[in-house]
Amino acid sequence: MSYIALSDKDKKEMLERIGVASIEELYGCLPDELKLRRRLRVPEAKSEPELERSFDALAARNTYPRFLSFLGAGVYRHFIPATVDYLSARSEFVTPYTPYQPEVSQGTLQIIFEYQTLVCQLTGMDISNASLYDGAMAAAEGVLMAQRLNSRNKVLVARSLHPQYRETIKTYTRNLGLVIEEVGFGDCGGLKSAELEAKLGPDVCGIIVQSPNFFGVVEDVAKVVDIAHRHQALAIVAVAEAVSLGILESPGRFGADIVCGEAQSFGLAPGFGGPFLGFMACKKEHLRQLPGRLTGQTKDVDGRRGFVLTLSTREQHIRREKATSNICTNQAWCALRATIFLETLGHDGLREMAVQNLQKAAYAAETLAKVKGVRLKFSGRFFNEFVLELPKNAQAVLDALKAKGLLGGLALERYYPELRQDVLLNVTEAHPKDDIDKLAVALREVLR
C-alpha cells in the first residue's frame, strides 16, 4: 500500500498531458550516477492486518502499564476526560497545518486564542505564545529571551530545576557565549536564596527557578523574584507540573518576568516522553522578544471578529537569522488537547484535581515516612511529588519493589550524586488510596 489515488488510466493520461513517456523521464533532471539502482533495504510492505498485529506485538513488549507506578519527574499520569480524545481526533483538527490562511482556519485560530488566554489566566501573565516543543526547550527559550532582553551574558539556574531542562539549556546556549551558573538547594529542598543573592551581579541576565521544583517542593517564588529584580535581573519561573497552577498562586502574581514550562499534565498521555506541550508567557512589555507563534484578534472586512497569526515579524520566515527563535512547526495539536482538557475540567474541576493531588501526595508521604528507616528528605511544602530518603541505596530498593510489580519512583543518584539513598515519588488523583497503601506495605517488606 502506498496511498496512491491514481488509477492506471489516470497515470497514462497524465503522462500524456505532461508530454513524457514515463515517470522515469521526469527524473531526467537527476544525474544518473546518483540514482539508486537497487531497492531500499527496508522490510517488505505489510498489509493493514499484518501491521496491526506487528504493532500489537511491539506494544506488548512494553510491560510498563502492568506495573503500579509512582514515577513522575516531569511526566505525570492524570485523568483525561473522554471529550479530549474524542474531539481532538477530528480530521479537521488532525490534518490541517499551521493556520496561514485564516479564512479557512478559524477553528484552529480561535482555539489557540483561547489557549493563550487560559495560559495567561493560569500563570498570571499578560501574554502567552501558541506553544513550544516541550518544557525543556521552553526553559531554554526562556533563558535566551531573558538574555535578549537585557543583553547580560550570565544566567543562574536553580539546581532544583529539572535536570533535563538544565541539560537542554546548556545545549541551546552553548554556542552563544552565555555562562551558566547553578544555585544549589537547601534542606528544605528549595533554592538557597543566600547563594542566589551572592551570585547575582551586573553580568547576570536572569535566574530560572522551577516551582514546584524537581523535588516537588514549592519554591518561594516571591522571594526569588524580589532578589532578582533588586539586581535588575529577570526572574524566569518554570512549571513542570501544570496542574499545580490550579491551587498555587500564579508566578505572575509574584512579578515573574517569564513563565515557561511543560503542560503535558493537561490532557497528554505520558507517551514515552512526547509529544508534550511547551508553554511560555511573559509580561506585555517583553512581547517583541517572545519566541513562537501568536494568535491575535481582529476584524474582517464585514466587521466580524476573527483571528489571525500575528506579530510574525519576530519569526524566522520574515526575520530569518534575526528571528526571536527558529521555531516554525510547534505543538498545536497538543495545545488543542490542553484547551479541551482545561475547558472540560473548568475552574472547579481543575481546582479539585489540584487539591486531590496535594492531599494524596501528602497522605502518601506521611504513610511512607512511617516505614522504618524511611524519612522525608526535605522539609519544604510540596505539591504532588516528594523525595524519600531510604535506609540504603535507592536503586536497590526500587529493584526489589519492581520485583513485586511496583515502580516506587525515581532514584535520584544519577542526577544528584549526593542523593544516593533518595527517591522521587509522584502521586496524583489517578492513584487510589489502595495503591498508596500497597506501596507502603511493599516498601516495608523490602526494607525488612
Binding site: M1, A5, M14, I18, L26, C29, L36, R39, L40, V42, A45, A59, A60, N62, T63, Y64, P65, L71, V75, T83, L87, S91, F93, V94, Y97, T98, P99, Y100, E103, T108, E114, T117, Y133, G135, E167, T168, G246, I247, S250, P270, F272, G273, G274, T298, V301, R304, V308, Q316, E321, N326, C328, T329, W333, C334, E343, T344, D348, L358, Q359, A362
Partner: protein
C-alpha cells in the same frame, strides 16, 4: 449561522463537564500553610459538556483540512495521513509508558526508535540518526550543533554558514542560534546554487553550506556532488534540509550525494499528521564522523534487546526532554512498514508526476520564473495577473478559498516575487487535481474579466479577509473580561 463565541463568553457558575471521584484519603488542612494559595483562577471558564462538545465541533468545521480536500501548501508535503497509523499509535503500551521507566519494561518503545533510525539511515543513505528533534527547525539546530561540535573538536568552530537565497527561513535562523553568521549564496538563472558564488564564498572560515535538495523551487541541484566537493575541499560540511525528501525516497539518497548531515520531517515525507501546526518530528542523520556528537541518549542494542546510552562525552547534549515526539515517531514507523521498499519509491514517483501534471496544466495561465524542470513541486508567480490586472498572489489565494480549495504557499521562496508554491504530494486523486487546475484556470480568467471579484475574495467563508495590520498594530492576544 451560529457564530461560535469564545468559551469565556458562555461560561457561568453552576455548569460543569467533569467530576472526580470523592477524595479517598483523609483530608488535611494547611498543607500549604505559609504559601500563597490562590482562592480562584480569575475568569477561568466553567461550562457544560454539551457546550464543550459543540464548541469544538463547530469550530472544527471552520477548518479546512487534508481529509476534506486538496491542500497544495508548497514545502509542507500535505499528504494524506493514513488512519491505521493513528490507530496503532494509541495502543496503551505506547501511550501509557513513562519515559523514565526501567528499560526492560519498555523494550517495545526502544525497538520502535531503533527501527525508525535504521529505516531512515537506509532511506537517506546516512550512518546514524537521532530522533530527538521535535520538528524541522530543531533538527536544523541539532544538525548545525553537531557540525560545530565536530569542528570545535578539530580546533576551530569557524564563523560562517552559507545558505542559498532560496532557503527556508528556519535555515538562517537555526544557523544563527548555533552561533554562526549567515552568508547568502546566490541562485543562478536555473534557480539552483550559483557554483561560482559558492566557490568564492566557501573559505576556511565557513563551517557548512545548508542546501535544500530538491530546492524550494522543486529543482534538483544537479551539481550537488560538485557542491559537496567544493564544501569538503575547504574542510566544511554539507548540510541538507530534507524537507523535500518526498521527491527522492527510493530514487536517490542524500548520503550518496556527499551530504554530511540531513534533517527529515516525519510530518512531511513520512505522513504524520500536521495537527494544525504540529507536533512534528525532525530526525537528523549524519555520517559516521559526526555520530559521536549526536544528542544523548542513544538507543543501542543490549544483549537480545535494546537499551539507552547516556555516556557519550562528545555529544552536544540534549535538545529535548526524553526521546523526542515519540508517538509521532510511532506513526512514521507504521507508514514505513506499510509502504515497504516499493511503496517508498512510488510516493516519490507519483509526487513528481502530480506536480508536473499541475505545472503543465497551468503554465499557460501563470508565470513560471524558472523554467528548469522540477520534481515534486512547482512555483508559479502572479506576474501575468499583477502586471496586467493588478491582481496579486494574495488575491488568487483568497479566491481559491471560494472555490473550496486550500491556497498554495505564498511569498516563498523569496527569490520568486509573488510566489504561488504548489506541492500536490502523491496522494491526490485525479479528480481533486483537476478540480484545483480548473479553479486556477477560472481564476486566471476572472483576473482578466473581473479583477474586483478576486480582490474582494473570499466571499463565502466564515470570515472574509481579515485585517492583519490592525491585529499587529494593536495586538489583542487574549480574551479580557469586559466586566472587570
Amino acid at each position: 449561522m451560529i457564530r461560535e463565541p469564545l468559551i469565556f463568553e458562555i461560561s457561568d457558575k453552576g455548569k460543569r463537564a467533569f467530576a472526580l471521584p470523592k477524595l479517598d484519603v483523609p483530608e488535611k488542612k494547611d498543607l500549604l500553610a505559609g504559601l500563597a494559595v490562590r482562592s480562584e483562577i480569575r475568569d477561568f471558564p466553567q461550562a457544560s459538556e454539551v457546550e464543550i462538545v459543540r464548541h469544538f465541533t463547530r469550530l472544527s468545521q471552520q477548518n479546512y483540512c487534508v481529509d476534506l480536500g486538496f491542500y497544495p501548501l508548497g514545502s509542507c508535503t500535505m499528504k494524506y495521513n493514513p488512519k491505521i497509523n493513528e490507530k496503532v499509535a494509541v495502543h496503551p503500551g505506547f501511550i501509557q509508558s513513562h519515559p523514565l521507566a526501567p528499560e526492560d519494561l519498555v523494550q517495545g518503545n526502544l525497538e520502535v526508535l531503533k527501527l525508525v533510525e535504521d529505516a531512515l539511515s537506509e532511506i537517506a543513505g546516512m550512518d546514524a540518526f537521532t530522533l530527538q528533534p521535535s520538528a524541522g527547525a530543531q533538527g536544523e539546530l541539532t544538525g548545525m550543533m553537531v557540525i560545530r561540535a565536530c569542528l570545535e573538536d578539530r580546533g576551530d568552530p569557524r564563523k560562517f554558514v552559507l545558505i542559498p537565497d532560496s532557503a527556508h527561513g528556519t535555515n538562517p535562523s537555526s544557523a544563527h542560534l548555533c552561533g554562526y553568521t549567515v552568508q547568502e549564496v546566490r541562485s543562478n538563472e536555473n534557480g539552483t546554487v550559483d557554483l561560482e558564488d559558492l566557490a568564492k564564498r566557501m573559505t576556511g572560515d565557513v563551517a557548512a553550506l545548508m542546501v535544500t535538495n530538491p530546492n524550494t523551487l522543486g529543482v534538483f541541484e544537479y551539481d550537488i556532488k560538485k557542491i559537496a566537493d567544493i564544501v569538503h575541499a575547504k574542510g566544511g560540511f554539507l548540510y541538507m534540509d530534507g524537507a523535500n525528501m518526498n521527491a527522492l525516497t527510493g530514487i536517490c539518497r542524500p548520503g550518496d550525494m556527499g551530504v554530511d548531515v540531513i534533517h527529515i520531517n516525519l510530518h512531511k515525507t513520512f505522513s504524520t499528521p500536521h495537527g494544525g501546526g504540529g507536533p512534528g518530528s525532525g530526525p537528523v542523520g549524519v555520517k559516521k564522523v559526526l555520530e559521536p556528537y549526536l544528542p544523548v541518549p542513544r538507543v543501542v542494542r543490549k544483549g537480545s534487546g535494546f537499551g539507552l546510552e547516556f555516556d557519550r562525552p562528545k555529544s552536544i547534549g540534549r535538545v529535548h526532554s526524553f526521546y523526542g515526539n515519540f508517538l509521532v515517531i510511532v506513526k512514521a514507523l507504521a507508514y514505513i512498514q506499510t509502504l515497504g521498499p516499493d511503496g517508498l519509491k512510488e510516493i516519490a514517483e507519483i509526487a513528481v508526476l502530480n506536480a508536473n501534471y499541475i505545472r503543465r496544466s497551468l503554465d499557460k495561465d501563470y508565470h513560471l520564473k524558472y523554467t528548469t524542470p522540477t520534481l515534486h513541486e512547482c512555483v508559479f508567480s502572479d506576474k501575468f495577473q499583477k502586471d496586467a490586472h493588478g491582481v496579486t498572489n494574495l488575491d488568487i489565494a483568497k479566491r481559491l478559498i471560494d472555490y473550496g480549495v486550500h491556497p498554495p504557499t505564498m511569498s516563498f521562496p523569496l527569490i520568486v516575487h509573488g510566489a504561488l508554491m504548489i506541492e500536490p504530494t502523491e496522494t491526490e486523486s485525479r479528480r481533486d487535481l483537476d478540480f484545483f487546475i480548473e479553479a486556477m484556470t477560472k481564476i486566471a480568467q476572472e483576473a482578466k474579466d473581473d479583477p474586483a471579484v478576486l480582490k474582494a475574495a473570499p466571499h463565502h467563508s466564515y470570515v472574509r479577509r481579515l485585517d492583519e495590520t490592525a491585529a499587529a498594530r494593536n495586538p489583542v492576544l487574549k480574551w479580557e473580561n469586559p466586566g472587570s
